[in-house]
Symmetry: D2
Subunit: 364 residues, 4 copies
């Protein structure tokens, strides 16, 4: 029996991502022990009986019961987005540390409830899982930025493009996703907040946002105020601009891409997407494949996220992503989605309050 | 003596680009004959005495005199931008075909004068030289788009980034350049107009534009209402969006890049900038160089531009770029620069008239 | 307590690779349980006390004692190369399945002893760990080859280049390594055997080999009949050729590369080496890094190797790499090293016996 | 009329390459004037009547008559290979400078006749056109090598792969081509001679060669002692090795590739073949095209070759490629082809005389 102190973790939600999180904590996070899992869904439960139970993981169909699992120390919330906040709040209140899938919520006021709960329980560690921050290429780019290799980070371009799913899934999903800027570009927004504060101790403050979009393949998205291609720009106070693109119709697969442009250099992540190191030279030319989905691209990052969360709890150190930053990402995503819907440019003052073009006067 | 019919061409202006155009018509456009050149500048004249005169090119310091050069058929206008329109109009009125460096003018009303002069002289061919349209990679992308390989072109991302010039040149230049969107992104705007009409017979119509910018390295640009990093979005009626980035501070050199995103595929031009086919594997990693300036990147395109203009005149066919399109590019560039300065999103109705957010209602 | 049946594994040797293998079986091979480890080395033992013992791994300084560890089912032999065969043979005779680091031995007669021991114990699974066969890019290339995507595999080019180590390590190492063709190119030779038999049921048969080399940075290698840059060609009967390059002086890091050339296509693995998806655009050009050593490049492959070995033992299926093939790789490597030393081309008949240019007559 | 002194050039042979050379001298070599051309072939003559005659080029069907063309100063020999030497010798004897397509001849004794004729006429400039030496990527690599960026060049790998031509052309061509090593790899051999002498004043001296080959798609090549895939190694005295690959069956198109490996760095030319800067992201993955033939890849190099030859003659400077080097390339190519046919490794002493394994003793 290991004498090593391991963190006792449960996973809530065993859908696509939940099952992966469970597997990561079970098999790929040495210092964590997956002791329990919750799902109300029969299919997910069947999967868990085959894949988790034999490894000693206790299964629950009642989340409150799970929270009472003896010795449980932390919960990974990976349910549908609409339940993230509720489960996170309950776990905090039950004294469990929380790693919550992004976003906390697609609604700002609910994010705030999570935040205030977390603030009332400062001994509990709560982290929202923005997986890209644990991807080695992004981490290398961040460290180079932090070390001054590119001067002051000034412009950030970032995109999240999903492979087209002809099943209509994206239309259904749009009811709950919060929209393309809250669902897809939230990652890119988080990167902007991360990189733009690499050399400072404070989050950059949004000055204005504007968004555009089209429904090129899925006109029904319009019912939910959503699009399948979005372009957004976020202007920060003090001379930093981030601009984003998201798509639900990238033919070859998943393609995230980010450029961090500083005053003396540019870092480019994933300008040349590829599944690996293989190219085929055929009569039709040279070919390569790219990841088919987000997980295929970021699998290692998810594992690293679980590991770092576990270490932070066990070591009593700060979790790698501040909750304030994660909430700010939602706020910007929601503002972009609002701009998309209204067609208006939206302004904020330095305190973060929405204003009527107040900033425009001081423009140039 | 060649029995081949060759077009007798003159070049007006022998600065950086003018000297290149002169050399292209002299040595690299077999069916053209450079017969004359104009410059009022002593340094440029000295260069011409050494490099053009020995090849039988007559030099002029008076543009009106040049236009009277016996047998002259066409003029390539490559003066400073502020003189483009005047020289073009004079040439048209003197019955000479014109290839004019981009832009016609940084002012819309002056562009209109050129256009109306051209319309009054329909037998005269007038083309504004958007060099990227003659670059083989862009041409291949266009042909694939035209043939339907990527479905309907929906999103276009394009950038023009210049190598940083620490001499302060860009600040001085900003007085005349019309601003970064009119000077740099004009190429990207032209690409949007070109690609978005690849499958139709009409130019896409602008619905709204918005622009942002910062002065990261050259704060003095603000005096001229300009920036050294610009981000702009142009929304077209009927579901097409183009977004642009321009920079005056790209450390390794010149980097244009364009993605044309259609409903079934994406074409990417110059995602991997490089000077050639050489990579160095050194102790410090793997390295490659990129072009140091626009000409190094597009030299062959400029030669091809001269060749196609010459052929169109000799064969009596349509020039490859319509003047209307080139003027529309200026209109969009000016609107972006206006948006940058005012901080406002600018709206247009379907007839191209600026309106007060009229389009917003019909948004989604 | 897991109800899952897990394979009880021990690791022999806890040097650079041994420690990694131990970690993989301990933390990254869910169906294996690292129960014991052997090392006679005090430093390695200290490492193990800190990193293995707390997880319940029993440490041994006597290999025979380790083999008697209760319930032990399999051994991973990762000692210095000179001990590989001895430990493998002992383990087999003790009824333990074996995963042995490559090569079995640098001496053919010792390889044969392993093989005959294995043959006498057919219920015991013995596999030599050629890690590249578990790298996803190579696996994809193999599957494409097997499926006929490139026609008949005809030419294979493969290289193994190590980062230069100025400490003189490679000179010392050359005493035991068997030489650059047996140590480095053994991987490339194994790939040739693998890919050239992708569409057949039998190993390709060597017809002739020839090798060349220089000592560019480490003249002392000559003392051991070795070089720091080697070029070798292996001709197989029935029209297949493999050619290899190995180097101990690659400045940016580790660079393996392979091309599998078939009658209708070519597969290229790692033509563009890179550590990840990051490129830096700096004033000095565009830069990227490559892995610094073999493990950085093949970490995931080693984990997969442990996983597949474990599965094969648990499921009673065939191990993914035949021992005959691994021995053939040594035979070819030794022949290349002999050719390097003698300067002679070496011939074999179809039965694998070395002959005096017997094959030459039938050449063309 | 130009006052510029221009070189009066004729082209002999107007086949595929001859027509291109004629066009380069006519339209793309400002300081040269194409005054005459020779071809005995009616089809080529018809082409010339349409494309050369109108530009004032006099056509000849008698090579001796062409040599008497008034004012003729130089001849570009671009006939079938078997006539290269004869035309070159006649031109030299007629006092004309010569740019001859590679190789001088596929037979060494004939090369020697050219060389001795050239030596008897030292005022006549004679250059064999190895086009790769004028390709900008190779030139950059050479300059980096010369400047010491990679230390001492030690290993050179180079390949020449042609697109498969299913018409049987390569079989017919093999009668005259001298074989794959003399026809294809001659370029790679020339590169080895060029790069290995970048830092010295003397050509490297061959110590031994060995070659292998297969007929994967064209068994009939064997009739001519030739193959469609060749692998060769050339060992030079003083610690340098070059190894080559050539193929007649590369599916996507033409792919030359070269690595120059020095003691402190490696230069890689064309590891990522591509036609331009375009990539297509489609449902089937990411795709790019490569040049379809040698000319598509090296067009600019051929133009530069004509320009540098012209300049050298006009300026009375040394031609960029020594005839001795070009003959040495043939000697090595022929030795490789001999090795391919005999299956034997071939040895040379330091004076270049073939010996019986004399060098073997001093091996290691």
């Amino acid at each position: 029996m290991p004498a090593v102190r391991r963190l006792r973790v449960a996973v809530s939600g065993l859908g696509r991502m939940g099952a992966r999180h469970a597997t990561h904590f079970l098999h790929r996070t040495p210092k964590a022990e997956l002791v329990a899992a919750f799902t109300p869904d029969p299919k997910e439960l069947a999967w868990a009986k085959e894949n988790l139970e034999p490894w000693g993981v206790k299964l629950y169909t009642d989340y409150d019961a799970l929270l009472k699992h003896e010795g449980l120390e932390a919960v990974c919330v990976a349910t549908v987005t609409t339940v993230h906040a509720e489960h996170t709040i309950k776990a905090i209140e039950a004294g469990k540390h929380v790693l919550c899938e992004k976003p906390l919520s697609t609604k700002l006021e609910i994010c705030e409830q999570v935040l205030s709960t977390a603030r009332r329980n400062p001994h509990i560690k709560v982290m929202c899982g923005f997986s890209r921050r644990f991807d080695s290429s992004y981490v290398n780019a961040y460290n180079l930025t932090k070390s001054g290799s590119i001067g002051r980070p000034t412009i950030l371009r970032s995109q999240t493009c999903d492979k087209y799913d002809p099943s209509g899934f994206f239309v259904q999903y749009a009811q709950f996703s919060g929209g393309i800027f809250v669902d897809c570009n939230i990652h890119d927004i988080d990167l902007a907040l991360w990189f733009f504060s690499a050399n400072t101790s404070t989050l950059p403050r949004v000055k204005s946002v504007v968004a555009f979009g089209v429904t090129a393949l899925e006109p029904d998205l319009a019912k939910h105020g959503d699009v399948d291609n979005g372009v957004g720009v976020v202007e920060f106070y003090d001379g930093q601009i981030a601009y984003f693109y998201s798509s639900r119709m990238n033919p070859p697969g998943q393609h995230d891409m980010t450029e961090i442009i500083g005053t003396t250099g540019k870092l480019s992540v994933n300008a040349n997407p590829t599944t690996g190191l293989l190219e085929s030279h055929l009569a039709t030319g040279i070919h390569r494949d790219i990841p088919q989905n987000y997980y295929e691209r970021f699998e290692n990052a998810f594992v690293e996220e679980a590991r770092q969360f576990t270490d932070a709890v066990l070591d009593g150190t700060r979790v790698p992503i501040d909750l304030e930053s994660s909430m700010e990402a939602v706020r910007i995503g929601v503002a972009l989605q609002d701009s998309l819907r209204s067609g208006k440019k939206i302004w904020f003052d330095r305190e973060g309050t929405q204003v009527e073009e107040a900033g425009a006067k001081a423009r140039l």
